[in-house]
């Protein structure tokens, strides 16, 4: 039995405007796929896998590895921060404190990425606030290099993707039935034990969902690695842009883009599959 009030036809009509927005994107994806198979670098002409073959270089391999590595580490860090924040948000009763925290976490979604990146530069740059403070305290002699390297990019990725994880987890935490927690408590479980044995396992689908969003977001990041990593941290987004902008290698950029999409999809599909096979059925 359907749980919605709309029939399939009605739902389709209801979603029509969304299709108008999605269709051009799909067309663009097909266009990029076609371009990646072009025999020429600047125009679509002929069919060839030359663009893909030309990507099989140590440089591009390092870029792929770096992208997956940074996206993965950022996702892990984000999840370790998002879960406690979600519990904190759901446990706050006073509406002012809850709103304040909500806005603080939401801020990265509202603020322009450029503004956020410059914020980090002002804070962490060689002559930024942190280095100035540490120097004036006599703790360091030369400035710490926190930007234009992997650390800087990681900081930026974690900060910008945190809200993407927190809010889905908050709604999942709210969805846990109080009676499950009380049942565990009556059986003798302390609050930390309940968190470990009941809450987190029940949250697992939501956690994997949130982690997938964060991973995909970070793997395809462009502005943050460019602004906080400079040219030294060649994540795929940056590498692709470099192929287009100074090199005019459109087919190479398209091929790299396809590889990024496929890798991300692969990771998401595998994680979804892992959840399915390891979760005891909860329906019914």
């Amino acid at each position: 039995m359907s749980t919605t009030t709309l029939s399939k036809g009605q739902a389709l009509a209801f979603a029509a405007p969304a299709f108008i927005a999605i269709l051009p994107f799909l067309v663009a994806c097909v266009y990029i796929l076609r371009f990646s198979l072009s025999a020429e670098q600047g125009v679509i002409e002929g069919i060839s896998i030359r663009a893909y073959q030309e990507l099989m270089t140590p440089f591009f391999g390092r870029s792929v590895w770096l992208t997956l590595k940074l996206a993965f580490i950022a996702t892990v860090i984000v999840m370790f921060m998002a879960v406690p924040l979600a519990f904190l948000l759901t446990s706050l009763r006073g509406s002012f404190a809850r709103r304040l925290l909500t806005v603080t976490i939401l801020l990265p979604l509202i603020l322009n990425l450029l503004v956020q990146a410059y914020g980090w530069i002002l804070l962490l740059g060689p002559s930024g606030a942190l280095n100035t403070l540490l120097k004036s305290l006599g703790l360091i002699e030369r400035p710490l290099f926190l930007l234009f390297n992997e650390t800087g990019v990681l900081l930026g990725l974690v900060q910008t993707s945190l809200p993407l994880a927190v809010f889905p987890i908050v709604s999942a935490v709210r969805g846990i039935s109080k009676e499950h927690l009380e049942a565990a408590s009556s059986l003798g479980a302390s609050n930390w034990r309940i968190l470990r044995d009941v809450s987190l396992p029940l949250l697992r689908p939501a956690l994997v969902g949130a982690a997938s969003i964060v991973f995909a977001f970070n793997a395809s990041a462009f502005a943050i690695p460019l602004l906080l990593g400079g040219r030294r941290v060649q994540m795929m987004g940056v590498a692709i842009r470099d192929m287009i902008s100074p090199l005019f290698n459109w087919s190479g950029a398209a091929a790299a883009g396809m590889i990024l999409i496929l890798l991300t999809l692969f990771v998401l599909v595998v994680s979804a599959w892992l959840v399915r096979v390891t979760t005891v059925k909860t329906k019914g």
Partner: protein
């Protein structure tokens, strides 16, 4: 065997401005089966949740075996609880659910396994230990939830409307089952319900609550036969609450008739009488009866009538027979002295 196990002393609870419970005093004997009964919003669930430790009382004390447990955390109380939603852990198998409390007590694996098997036998569900909870029927889940609560050898066994989700037939069976289990384990039990039949069926001691106050606490038959006030009389077994008077012979005057039932109150005093529907018998008369039948329904073993008499609608229940009066008939009413309770008005 009337040793007090749980003693509730002067317990009150208010939420913001709402007084949920006022000055509850209740002694629960060791091994007793107590039912908290009342309409929704009467405070029965709040009282159970305070006993379990999920709510804090605003005032008063909980004493278990002489020890004050008012402020003890719920996970340190060692009470087994069955929830209205059952709250089985969906990510655990039946065996994992039942042994969870034992695992927390660091019981050995062998012992856990034995205990799970023992309890599944007791609830008559052997061979389902490895199934996921989602594969169970409603009745099976019920039994697993009961097994999980009993597995920890609880000091108190608490149940919050555990049978309300079952259909009528299954509920009947589970009531008998629950009573049998409780007696074989000898565990002191507190059950919350709004279903008076269920409460009468299960309880050694019936606690009728309304508006956060205990209206009466007594064995079921006593509550039924000697209700403490009109509310209890009406709530348990739905009595007709009728205005009455003490006649000059100090007998009960009801519906303008002298019933001949003697009362304590001085002549002329207005009273309230709670008259069970089965305390009235009807006799058909050709004319000049005290009442007229306005509704009759043959339910098989018994028939229910509504009688219009002296401006009141009176519910009557009695054995069905071919000679039973039907709608429009004039009837005389006769009252059974034993099933009428009289209250000062």
């Amino acid at each position: 065997m009337s040793e007090t196990h749980l003693n509730i002393e002067g317990l009150s609870k208010s939420f913001d401005n709402v007084q949920a419970l006022s000055n509850i005093d209740l002694k629960v004997d060791r091994g007793a089966f107590v039912c908290l009964l009342g309409p929704s919003g009467c405070g029965k669930t709040t009282l159970l949740r305070i006993i379990a430790g999920f709510e804090r009382a605003t005032a008063g004390k909980l004493v278990l075996d002489g020890a004050d447990i008012t402020n003890l955390a719920p996970h340190k109380r060692g009470f087994g609880m069955v929830f209205q939603s059952l709250a089985l852990f969906p990510h655990m198998s039946v065996a994992e659910n039942i042994s969870y409390g034992l695992k927390l007590r660091k019981t050995s694996r062998v012992e856990q396994k034995d205990r799970v098997e023992e309890l599944l036998n007791v609830v008559e569900l052997p061979h389902i230990a490895d199934r996921p909870v989602s594969a169970l029927s409603g009745g099976q889940r019920q039994r697993v939830a009961i097994a999980r609560a009993l597995a920890i050898r609880p000091k108190l066994f608490l149940l919050d409307e555990p049978l309300s989700a079952l259909d009528a037939k299954l509920r009947d069976n589970m009531q008998i089952e629950l009573r049998r289990l409780q007696q074989s384990f000898g565990v002191t039990t507190v059950l919350v319900t709004h279903d008076q039949t269920e409460a009468m069926m299960l309880a050694d001691e019936l606690v009728v609550l309304s508006d956060g106050v205990i209206q009466q606490a007594a064995p079921p038959s006593q509550v039924y036969r000697f209700p403490a006030n009109p509310f209890v009389a009406d709530f348990i077994g739905s009595a007709n609450i009728l205005p009455a008077v003490s006649t000059s012979q100090k007998t009960l005057g009801l519906l303008g008739m002298n019933t001949g039932i003697s009362v304590q109150q001085a002549p002329g005093i207005t009273l309230q009488a709670a008259v069970r529907s089965e305390a009235i018998s009807l006799r058909r008369v050709e004319s000049g009866g005290t009442g007229t039948i306005s509704f009759a329904r043959d339910l098989g073993p018994v028939t229910e009538w509504l009688v219009q008499a002296a401006g009141h609608e009176i519910r009557v229940r009695g054995a069905s027979s071919a000679a039973s009066p039907t709608v429009g008939d004039q009837v005389e009413l006769k009252f059974d002295q034993d099933r009428i309770s009289v209250f000062a008005s």
